[in-house]
Structure formats: structure tokens, C-alpha cells
Amino acid sequence: MKKNFDILIIGAGVVGAAVARELSRYKLRIAVIEKEEDVSFGTSKANSGIIHAGFHSQPGTLKLKLEAEGNRRFDELSAELGFPFERRGELMVAFSDDELQILHKYYQRGVQNGIEGMELLGRERTLELEPNLNPDILGSLHSPTAGIVGPYEYCFALIENAKTNGVEVFLDSKVEKISRRDSCLECVSSKGVSLTGKFVINAAGLFSDEIAKLAGVDGFRIIPRKGEEYLLDRRVGGLVRRVIFPVPSEKSKGLLVIPTVDGPVMVGPTAVDIEDKTDFSTTRSGLEAVFKNAQKMVPAIRATDIITSFVGLRPAATGGDFIIGKTSVKGFINAAGIQSPGLTASPAIAEMIKDILVAEGLELKKKDNFQAVRKAVPKIRPLVEQRDYKMIEKLIAKDKNYSKLVCRCENITEAEIIAAIRSGHSTLDGIKFSARACTGRCQGGFCTSRILDIIHRETGIPIEKISKKGKGSEVLLFKK
């Protein structure tokens, strides 16, 4: 198959998705090419889900600038696209006089960067805001504009909306060759599909250095920085309201206690530079470090409350900062090395890419029929929690599948699972991340067989071919 586009975006993580959605406002033919079976399946899905305030990075970096700009965009984005986002705020906590000094430095940096509402708090006020913090804390830096987001929901919402506005998405397609075709670049994927575009945006995350090399662009390398995270039981969900940070180290923002938009608390991530881009293994030492640090800040946290763990690999570029801009190859534009605060910065990165394209001669004409709003699938869980039975009855009256509870831990109905499948997810992980089924306490022990049946019924994929996250990860190997 051959197809021509104006813009090819390699990578359907938050960066590629944000760029696709932003450019879908204009009269352009756009394609997103993703090597995984579903969008967000690389670094984005293993994200902490924090929208940072905008004071963590070094002055003068793209990171610092785009972090602050990105943060400001999330209210509007969340309202338009219907993904969960809450400005909960973050607290950086200090245990010593030295650490208090460092808090002051971050405070000044934030103020200089135009971050609103930041304040240095003493011990009592800190404990008033977060009563479950260690009473030995001396003080904290409070940034109320920080928020939490459903990272994969955000990514799915961007892609869905981009698709609504005409963007084509090619999944399970690894770009293996990039070559020049007249004024265009041609990307050939593992499936033999050839896509050409006037511009190629390299948003390939962990593999952005390899994609750059395919295009003949050199000059940076991606070093995977492993982060282990541990999700705790919903039962201990109310421990903190805000994101709790220690005073950061050189390499990372430290090991955090993170409330999630879905309720449960997450702890992590570690930060260890590794070689292997496919090493998603958790370690005993990682677990110990995470809990030691989390318990220092919030003593009530227990490792026995873990319901699941995962690893994300941050695509850290040599040089440290984001690499965004045109390259020696005309039409090939990097959005590489987007590690933390990449999620926060993603809307601003999309804007920046748009500006670069314009500077490179792309003509932008607004679409008349751009649809900014994506209607989120109604969820039954919040209604069950609020005991809003009238509303549940209304949903059932519209769609009987809302009366079929599939995932009991998280209260997910068949209607929500069917919606996820119909919006393009056909792996168990895809359903898990889009509809939240199997994310609770039993981790799919009860509902997996029903979800397999629904996927089979909706897509016709034989049960033994349904996978966790793509070919080679089938849940059941064969029919007896």
C-alpha cells in the first residue's frame, strides 16, 4: 500500500498525539505511524500522570519553558476532550534546614517563571493541608497549579479527536526505512506500507534516536531511564490529596507519592539509566527504595497494599533537554528526548512544532468543520460512588449494556467495554487502559474471561488470538 500525506508523525505517544490533534485543526493530510498495537503503549502509558507546575527544570531549558506553557493548557484540553484532570497541587517537602534552603531556590525559580500561587509553608500549615504526612516534616513548597491527569486517557482522547478530524492512524507499523522522494520523505513500515509526507515529525520516544538515524540525522542518543511504579489499593486512596515530592536529586524529581485521578495512590518512580530499551522489569531493590522513601513522607503507606507494579522507560536524550526542531534533513523535524516533564509540556510541544512547520514553509489553513469537542463515554463508577441511581437508570434506559457489570472492582460495564473496542482497542491492555477494566484489586481474575468474550463478539478475533498487548502475547495459547 502507498499513500501520500502532508505530515507523517512517527509515534502515537502523548507527543505524537498532541501534535496530530493540534495540526488536525488545519486543512492537512496527516498520518500517525505507531509500532505498537495501540496508541500510548510505549512510555506514555507508564507515566506518573502529573501535570507539573513549571519550576522543576533548569532555567534556560526548553523543558522549563514548555512545562509552564503546557500546564496552562490543560483546563481547556480536558474540557474539550473529556479526559480526567484535576488541579490538586503539589507539595515538595523538606526534612532539614538544608532542604528548606533548596525549597526556597525552587520557589524563586517558579516565581521567575511566572508560576502563580506558589507559597512556602511551615510545618503546621503543611500538615493541615496533608494530615497524613510525616510529622517530622519542617516545611514545604506548595504549588497549587500542579495537577493530575489520566495519562493514557489523555493520549487516547487526543488520538480519537484527531481521528474525528481526519487524521489517519497506522498501528502495529514499525518504520524501517526513511528516504527522500522528490520534495517528500517516504517512510516504509514493517508491514510494507509506504507513506510519504512533506514533513516527518519524529515523536518516536525511546526510539527517536534510531528513527533520526534512518533519516540520516545524527547527533543525539536516547538513554532509557527506568522508572518503577507501584499502584496501591483503592482502600488507601485517601492518604494524600496532592502530589507529594521530596527535595529532588540530580537525575529525577525523586520518589513521589502520587494520587491518581482514578482514586488509588501510586508510589515511585525510580530513576536508573539502563542500556536495554526493552527492559521493563521491576526489581526488588527498586521496590525497597520506593517504599522506603514513600514511607518517609507518608508513614501509613504499606507495601502489602500493592495491587500492581509497572515500569516506564523515560527517553532521556544525551544533553538532558528536549530536542525539538528542524534538522539537517529538510522536512524531518525532531520532537525527541521528551522525558519528564514531557506529559505536561506536550500541548506546548505541539504548538512549537506547528510554529516550526510554518517557519519551514508549511501553509496552514483552518478547517471550517474542526470538531474540538470529544464526547467521553459516560462511566458508571462515579455514579455508583455518589449513589446517583436516577442517572444510572437513565444510562440503562439509553443503553441496556450499562446494566451488565463486567469489572466489579472498578465498576465497569459492558457498555464501556464495547465503547473502548469500537474506538479501536482490541487488546486486553488496550481495554484496560481505555476502559479501566482489570485495573482494580483482582487484576482481571474475574472479568478477563468476559472481556475476551466481548472482544471476540465485537471483532471476530478468535479467543486464542486475543492478546495482552499485541502478537506474541496471547492470553490463552490454544483451543482444546
Binding site: 507501584y230 499502584l231 482502600r235 526493552t278 527492559d279 521493563f280 522489569s281 521491576t282 526489581t283 526488588r284 527498586g286 521496590l287 507495601a303 500493592i306 495491587i307 500492581t308 507494579s309 509497572f310 515500569v311 455508583v384 449513589r387 441511581y389 444510572i392 437508570e393 440503562i396 434506559a397 441496556k400 446494566s403 451488565k404 457489570l405 466489579r408 472492582c409 465498576n411 460495564t413 484489586r441 483482582c442 487484576q443 482481571g444 481474575g445 474475574f446 478477563t448 474471561s449 479467543i463 486464542e464 492478546s467 495482552k468 498487548k469 499485541g470 502478537k471 506474541g472 502475547s473 496471547e474 492470553v475 490463552l476 495459547l477 490454544f478 483451543k479 482444546k480
Partner: protein, 415 residues
């Protein structure tokens, strides 16, 4: 839709059905048993091996046969079942209860009733709960899920299998997978003793030459999209893996049989106080939870090793619920039950003065040549010698009559 019953029983497995039958026998007519599956009988339906009913029916039945016995009894007693329906909330205001249900056929139901019996059973611990280090590939399943897929749906999870944990489901699945032609490479158990019943060690492992590694654990899971091998290490100090002495087993599937937890989502939501050890509700002598009019029995109360005791406990529960409804639960003095040395728990937490009682308990470790004792501050009530006693086997102790003047009861092990 609004409905009205005397009693709602949540769960139509062995506990729920047995409770329903004894309620009917006690003359309570308006009862409803709710189950989320489209069939009654619960997990018994996927347990196609035999060994059920030896105590209750004096014969060896398969799981579905055992379930059928109780289904027949409940049909004879005209028990009303609501299947494919999931309870999402229990709301209590004093003696009035309301059970909120999502029914696939009837939509949202609000059922008012006078009492609720929790009989939701238990669930399996999974990989997350035990935080095994390593990658996160496909091919890691709980033993019970694998059992369901093999026995009820006809799909095999894999061909080369390692089982972590020697609980009964793990042992049963070792045999099941072998019979289906898979190669079961090993069963790995972190404790010094098997987690399951001895008869299952013999019939499911030894008869199939499947090695059992005691005091070992899986220290790392390897594999990309699918599991390719596990690293097995001996443990020191009970839980710490000694990776210098580790070895690898190649496999395409890892089954987990690492413990069961009472399924108490609803109980927590209903504000019921749970016990830290059993992880089920704290109950009094009538098996009533901390919320008046809400009772619990079977595996949702504490995990049993054989279904016969589940039925027995649930029948007792049914009779007590009937008495509660009729208003003739005498307000007898309740005497607290303490759990003494070498025991992990005793249930119930209170017994009635002057009445018979049955105590359920487990030891914290395998012990040899010990006495299991129950006493009050004054008298010995029970003393039995055990040549061997295992935590995997729940002990049920009948007390003929709890002394009317006792201040407390204590269970303990004496060497």
C-alpha cells in the same frame, strides 16, 4: 424498580444456597439469592475434580455434583434466584436495609429487606499482591482463572507450566494441566510446608512426578511479550530469596496459587468492620457483622479449605438469620473469644453464654505433638492431641456448652 423481600442473600455459591435452604426450612418465605453469573453454584462449577462432600454427604462428589445437590435442595425449597445480577451497594438505616442491584434483565433494582447475608466467596491473590520482580509479559495467570478457562471454556493457557504456590487450586491445576498434555515443570512454595491438603500433594504432584520445591520462590520473571522463564531461588529467613543459589526454569505459562482473600468490596462499602487476619468481617455468635442485620458465612467470612464446612457454617448462619427476623434472638450474654499462642485466628469472635458453639481456627505453622486447647479463665473446655497439625487444615472445635459464668474463652496450642 423497587422490590421487597425479607432477606437478600448475595452469592449463589455453596454458602448462599445453604443459607437459603436453612432459611426456608425455618419458615422464612420471602428470600432472594442474587448471583452475578448466569448460573448458580459459584466456583464449584469449574472444580470438575472429585473430593467434595465427604463430610456432608458421606461420598466423594465433583464440584458440579456438589453444587447440584444444593441446587436440588434449594429448588425443592422454592428458593428464588436472581442471576446475571450484581449487587453494587448495601445501604443500612437501623433495621431497614436496601440492596442496590444491577440486573442484566431488569436494570437497576432497589430491594428493601430486613436482613442481608453476605456469601460472596473469595478471590485469588495475583501477581501484583506479591510483587514478583521482573518483566510483565503475557502468560501469567491465577490458577483459578486458568481452571475456569480450561474446564468451562475449553482453552489452554500454555504448554510448559510452572506453578507458584502450593495451595489446593495450584495442586489441582498441576494435575489438570498434566492430564491435558501440558508439561508441569515444578510447583514452587515459599513456605517450609505445602499450602494445600496432603491428599492433593500425593494425588496431584507425586502421582505425576511433578517436583515440589519447598522454601523456594520465584525471584524474577523473564520474557518479552510472553513469559519465557522464571528464576527460582531458595529463601533464607523465610522470605528473602538467595539469588546466588538460583536456577532457571523455561516456561510459557506461570500459574499463581498464592492465597485467597475474602471478597469484601461490598462489605467495606457497607461500613462493616473487617478482621486483620481473616480479612473477612468480624462476627458475633450469630455470624452477624458489625452492621446490624448483615450476616456473613462461607469464604467471604474466612477462607475454608473444604466446601463441606462452608455449607455447614452457612446453614447455621441461615438458622440464626431466621431467628433474627422472627425477633427471637435471645439477648444472651456474649463472651469474647481470644486467639492464643501459635494460632492465627479463631472465629467467631464472640460466643453465647450457656449455649453450644463451634469454633474455627488455624495454626500459624505446621506443628508436631501438640495439644489444641480451649479454656475459660476457670475451666478447660477442650483438649485434643495432634501428632501433626497444619495451617492448611482448618480445625472446627465443637463446644458442648459455653459456661454461663465465663468471662472469656481462649484457644491456644500447648506443647
Amino acid at each position: 424498580m423497587n422490590l421487597k423481600y425479607d432477606i437478600v442473600i448475595i452469592g449463589a455459591g455453596p454458602a448462599g444456597l445453604a443459607a437459603a435452604v436453612s432459611l426456608k426450612r425455618s419458615g422464612i418465605e420471602k428470600i432472594l439469592v442474587i448471583d452475578r453469573e448466569s448460573f448458580a453454584g459459584g466456583i464449584l462449577n469449574q472444580c470438575i475434580h472429585n473430593g467434595f462432600g465427604i463430610h456432608k454427604f458421606k461420598e466423594e462428589l465433583t464440584g458440579p455434583e456438589y453444587a447440584e445437590r444444593y441446587l436440588d435442595l434449594s429448588n425443592q425449597a422454592d428458593v428464588e434466584l436472581l442471576l446475571s445480577a450484581c449487587v453494587i451497594d448495601i445501604i443500612s438505616s437501623g433495621k431497614e436495609k436496601e440492596v442496590i442491584v444491577l440486573s442484566e434483565e431488569q436494570g437497576l433494582l432497589r430491594i428493601s429487606c430486613k436482613a442481608v447475608v453476605l456469601a460472596m466467596g473469595c478471590r485469588e491473590k495475583n501477581r501484583g499482591n506479591i510483587a514478583i520482580p521482573g518483566s510483565r509479559p503475557a502468560g501469567i495467570l491465577t490458577a483459578g482463572f486458568a481452571q475456569k478457562m480450561v474446564n468451562l471454556h475449553g482453552y489452554m493457557p500454555g504448554r510448559e507450566i510452572v506453578i507458584l504456590g502450593s495451595g489446593d487450586i495450584g495442586l489441582i491445576m498441576a494435575r489438570r494441566m498434566s492430564l491435558e498434555g501440558a508439561k508441569v515443570k515444578a510447583v514452587i512454595e515459599i513456605q517450609t510446608h505445602p499450602g494445600g491438603l496432603n491428599r492433593n500433594i500425593v494425588q496431584c504432584l507425586q502421582d505425576f512426578d511433578i517436583p515440589l520445591y519447598l522454601s523456594h520462590t520465584i525471584s524474577e520473571i523473564k520474557g518479552g511479550r510472553r513469559i519465557s522463564s522464571v528464576e527460582v531461588s531458595p529463601v533464607v529467613d523465610r522470605s528473602f530469596p538467595d539469588r546466588n543459589r538460583s536456577f532457571h526454569l523455561d516456561c510459557d505459562t506461570l500459574l499463581l496459587s498464592v492465597g485467597l482473600i475474602p471478597e469484601n468490596e461490598l462489605s467495606i462499602k457497607a461500613g462493616i468492620v473487617l478482621d486483620n487476619v481473616t480479612r473477612g468481617p468480624v462476627v458475633d455468635a450469630n455470624l452477624m457483622t458489625s452492621v446490624e442485620g448483615v450476616f456473613a458465612c462461607g469464604n467471604v467470612l474466612h477462607v475454608h479449605d473444604i466446601v463441606d464446612w462452608v455449607s455447614e457454617e452457612a446453614e447455621f448462619c441461615g438458622y440464626r438469620v431466621a431467628r433474627y427476623i422472627k425477633g427471637d434472638i435471645q439477648k444472651l450474654r456474649e463472651i469474647p473469644v481470644r486467639t492464643g499462642k501459635m494460632l492465627s485466628y479463631t472465629l467467631p469472635s464472640k460466643v453465647e453464654a450457656g449455649k453450644p458453639a463451634t469454633l474455627s481456627l488455624r495454626t500459624i505453622a505446621p506443628l508436631e505433638n501438640v495439644f489444641l486447647c480451649v479454656y475459660t479463665e476457670k475451666h478447660f473446655l477442650y483438649k485434643k492431641k495432634f501428632r501433626k497439625i497444619f495451617p492448611s487444615i482448618m480445625q472446627r472445635i465443637p463446644i458442648k456448652e459455653v459456661p454461663a459464668d465465663a468471662q472469656y474463652l481462649e484457644t491456644f496450642i500447648e506443647s
